[in-house]
Amino acid sequence: MRLQILDTGHGFGTKALFSFIQLVSRQPVLDVVKLVSYRPDFYGKPMSKVTQEVMRGPSSWSVAERELMAAFIAKTNRCEFCTKAHSAVAQRAFGDRRSVSNALSGLDTANVSEPLRSTLHMLGKLTREHTLNANDVSAVLAAGASRQQIEDALAICFVFNVIGRLADAFEFAVPGPEAFEAGAKYILTRGYR
C-alpha cells in the first residue's frame, strides 16, 4: 500500500476488527478492505452503497454473471488484484472454475450466452477506449441483451473502473489464492456492505 494512512492509519476499533478478521480467517486483511475502512464517510460508505446495489441489487444478470463482468473489466484494466479477487468470486458463484478462466482468456470461444458475450465485449471497449458509440450499443441489443441489462452492466463498469484505478494507484498487495478464496466466500455471503 503506497499511503501509510491506508495501511495503518485506522482508528482503534477498526484495527481491533482487522485483528479479529485475521484471527478467524487466518488470512491477511485485503487492502481493499483497508481502503474502504479508512475515513469511511469520505469514500468507503458511499461507494459501498453503490457497489452493493450494482452487484447484489435487482437485475436480470445473475450474481455470477455480474462478478464475471467485474473480473473482465479488471483484466482489461490490467489490475491484478481486482482480476484475481473477482475471478475467485465468479468461480465460486458459477461453481465452475474453467468457464470463468475461459471467458477471461478467450471470450469469443467461451461457453457463455450471446447477450453476456456481447455485453462483455462492450464493457471491454468502454474500459479500454473510455467511450462507446451507437454501433457498440446496437450490437449488444442485437445479441439479445435488454436496455435494462445494458444499463446494469454499465453501472458495473463504473464501479470497477473506480476500484481498479484505486487498486493500482495505492498499489494493493496481491496475496495468495487462499486469501482471495476467503474473500470470495465472504463477499458471496455478506455482499459489499
Partner: protein, 102 residues
Amino acid sequence: MSNITEARKALVARILEGAGQASRADRQAAFHLSSTAGPPAALAEKVAHDPAGISDEDIAVVRASGISEDQVFEIVVCAAIGQASRQYDAALAALETVIGKE
C-alpha cells in the same frame, strides 16, 4: 437497479462538496481533470488514463510538493470516480441515442 442513480449522486456529492482535507477546488480539479499544472494534476491525469503505470515516484513527487497523505487519498479517489463517471455518462448517451431511434 433503481437506486443506483441516487447512490452515485450521493457519492459524487460527498467527495466533491463534503468536508475534506484537500480543498473543494482541488477535488473538483482532480475529478474533472480541469487543471494541467502541478504534481496533483499530473497524478490525477495518470489515475484517469494510465493507472497501471503509477509508481512510487508519482506519489512521492506529489507529497514533496507539500500535499499530505490524506489529500493524496482524496485527490486519487476524485480522479478515479471522475474518469469512471465520464465513461459511464458517455456510454449511457450512446445507449440513449440508439433507444431514441427505435
